[in-house]
Subunit: 139 residues, 2 copies
Amino acid sequence: MDYATLLKESGLKATFQRMNILDSIDKQGHMCVDDIYEEVTKVHPSLSLATIYKNIILMQENGILVEVPIAGKKSKYELAKTDHMHLICTECGDVEDMSCLETTDKIFHDLTQKEHFKLNKRQVNLYGVCEACQTQAAS
Amino acid sequence: MDYATLLKESGLKATFQRMNILDSIDKQGHMCVDDIYEEVTKVHPSLSLATIYKNIILMQENGILVEVPIAGKKSKYELAKTDHMHLICTECGDVEDMSCLETTDKIFHDLTQKEHFKLNKRQVNLYGVCEACQTQAAS
DNA sequence: ATAATTGCAAATTTTTTGCAGGTTC
DNA sequence: GAACCTGCAAAAAATTTGCAATTAT
């Protein structure tokens, strides 16, 4: 589905700014506010940080964006998608998605149910060093 | 081990402020900067926020404290302990620890190894509604 | 035409920094 | 006594807000 439709379905207007924010996040995968600002101002120099902040909040409320909080860094944002885990490289900051297994999903579900906890959202962040950074360090 | 020893082993002086910060976090489990400030100033009114910020950074560097980043909220901090997951109640903000299973640990290890990712730290946050808040909502 | 949205500037909140005085070892 | 720490105040960084002008529908 294109961004315009995605926005309109939530009752949000399909502005140039919003389309470009979504487009950037989609291409890069995971971006913090400053990443978005830097990227989108390339094609739309008048974009203000205030607009990014306002839209990130709005789009989260409408289930279009999801926050990915990261230890020691500013949160990144990604397009809402099916459940997955994050491989976060502590060297270069890159975030990669990795699909969840039914096994772990079931385990989380069962464990929380035993505690009478109503589970709504899972967030699995695995911190380490990505292949590229390992290779680089070895040279 | 007592806090004084814990600090000294890292080459940090066992000040009244640090002991109280650690004591509060230990008792409450998970606290953000403001929680700590509010709690510790009860027994030590002159404590400054700057001191809390400085010490949180220092104690993280020395492996005494660990950051728990939480979507939509300020990060909380906990004492470093064996690996575990977090049940985060989105109603009351409470965070409960739940021990990890070897099963999931192994799964994460295997999955990341297949990607040639050097896994250092796992962070599992499960968001939902705790039993207490469910009960309250029902009444 | 209308209501929503933008971008600016200002306000607020959060975090960091420098340094003089005080504390721990 | 020396090095380290604290607390203050000021600075810097991050985020939010109000509002007039603009834009999408």
